[in-house]
Symmetry: C2
Subunit: 325 residues, 2 copies
């Protein structure tokens, strides 16, 4: 199969009108009038951002999902995406079958289509890069830098599932036994949160109406909140007793409280953290509820940073976020 | 150096206003009113698309140049680009110093700035992916599919230099002697054409005014012309006696006529091939001349394909283009 045949078989079916069937050299997209374009790119490498053993459809969903998560956090409606795919020597048609199916499903769920990209061979690990485009009304992109002291800090969904899921997935692949903390909980749910990000695109109207600053939580809650506040010239006062936890994460922490560090600094949550002025808080909660996205107030922006643990005592963490370099 | 420090040091200086200093999660670009967006992505892998030993500034210029070449062929004015960079374990600060300098110079020459991207580590070879954005007046993107029988086929610049340069560069890295055909010519010029594509952005006005179909010549002239004609439902009648050759390529072919196959199927030219209606040919040549871009008529679109060699006899080639998979 040459490059053109590969594209025609696996990727052309994922292209929308702007992708021109992936038979031209470029996509041609009519941007929505009066809108700014929001552009983001994320690269993922096997063995680093995912396991080569992960289901191909999950690898695809993650590669797209981490980009859509950035668009969601900026209040942008996704318009489309381009995929660069570097295939390792042992790629199989079955891999591409499942990868392209997963990509198509994740894209359809977000209402976007493939615009273009490139497929090459590599002697190294599977390497993926997606550039995603979104649109916001002119001037409406939600920056990191708009938070002010007194704003309330909200986070979507639940935090820490993916970090715990990563630890379980690592053992699963190595063929090891479950750790003691995982024996009485739903390990599959945690692993699924690691494998398949759930970009919070439904929150876009609430963010646009109410958030002064936002970003997605991809590299660990503590470090990402810190980055958001720093960009705004303020600091976070966080109350981890308020941290939204899934049932299995709650069970894990009950069994081993030391897992809290992993939960709040481990990354891969792909939730959204945002700053909302107090007078907008009620509206924000209403709009999020209407969108079906759980949001939890975990603290406030202030002049000085403080982090209180679940027991109400001040906490510090050895490292605050995950680095991909 | 963590990821944020690396971005701040090497890439933030390359960002334009839409890149927001690379401190946010996404770029925010105001698209030119009344224009369509033209989007393209190309990935390059060390050891496959370039040599790991190539000068870092040339690797950068090539990664951007191959994308700008696609925009040029579509008649688009470049707006910006995003870079995904997967660094191998042995990356050095010196590499990034030179890479970012080369990227900045190539971008400045094209009048574009960095919009965003991602930097990750890989256990494999250096892997780069750029997504480039351009703009055309609404409806004006030049497709592959517009050529009609009777159109004249033009190509920019000279063909085959990069393919010959690749062969010389491979020997240079292996420490081998120059081949006999290269002993009396300017090898450095050929190697430079391999290392540093020269995207023909200056041709945009001529293409928009006159071309019915166009693409860039990246994977070998014969195969790329064939792809252009096939997309248009026609075929190419090519006269290789008309092939535009540089002085060193001419010398190489004089010394070893068998190199013609490499010249016309070897790839990496990053010239533009286009189809121009006969009544527009004079205007096209004038506009190209005014833009300082050499264009040469090498054939015409017709119902049946034919390729005449430099001696006027029909020619066939074993393979027609380079495949990156």
């Amino acid at each position: 199969m040459n490059e053109s045949e590969l594209i025609a078989r696996y990727f052309a079916p994922l292209a929308g009108p702007a992708g021109l069937g992936l038979i031209d050299d470029a996509a041609c997209l009519i941007p929505p009038p009066g809108c700014d374009l929001v552009l983001t790119a994320d690269a993922l490498v096997a063995g680093r951002h995912f396991f080569a053993e992960d289901p191909p459809d999950a690898i695809a969903a993650k590669t797209l999902g981490v980009n859509l998560s950035d668009l969601a956090a900026k209040g942008a409606e996704p318009l489309g995406y381009l995929l660069s795919l570097a295939l390792p020597p042992d790629w199989t048609e079955r891999f591409l079958d499942e990868f392209s199916r997963g990509l198509g499903e994740a894209a359809a769920a977000a209402g976007v289509a493939l615009l273009g990209g490139d497929t090459v061979a590599t002697s190294g690990p599977l390497t993926l890069s997606i550039t995603a485009l979104g649109a916001v009304p002119h001037g409406a992109m939600i920056r990191r830098s708009g938070a002010r002291a007194g704003d309330l800090i909200y986070v979507t969904g639940t935090i820490g599932d993916a970090a715990l899921g990563l630890s379980l997935r690592r053992r699963e692949i190595a063929g090891g036994a479950l750790p003691a903390w995982a024996k009485t909980l739903d390990a599959a749910e945690l692993i699924d949160r690691y494998l398949r990000p759930r970009p919070r695109l439904a929150l876009t109207p609430a963010l646009r109406a109410c958030a002064r600053a936002a970003m997605d939580v991809s590299d660990g809650l503590i470090g990402d909140v810190r980055a958001l506040m720093r960009a705004s010239g303020v600091a976070a006062q966080l109350d981890l007793a308020r941290l939204p936890l899934s049932a299995p994460a709650r069970a894990a922490l009950a069994a081993d409280p030391a897992l809290l560090e992993s939960v709040v600094t481990g990354g891969d949550d792909y939730e959204i953290v945002c700053a909302v002025a107090p007078e907008r808080a009620a509206l924000f909660e209403q709009l999020a509820d209407a969108a079906g996205v759980a949001v939890t107030r975990i603290g406030a922006a202030a002049a000085q940073e403080s982090v209180l643990g679940p027991d109400g005592a001040a906490r510090r963490f050895a490292r605050d976020r995950f680095s991909h370099v």
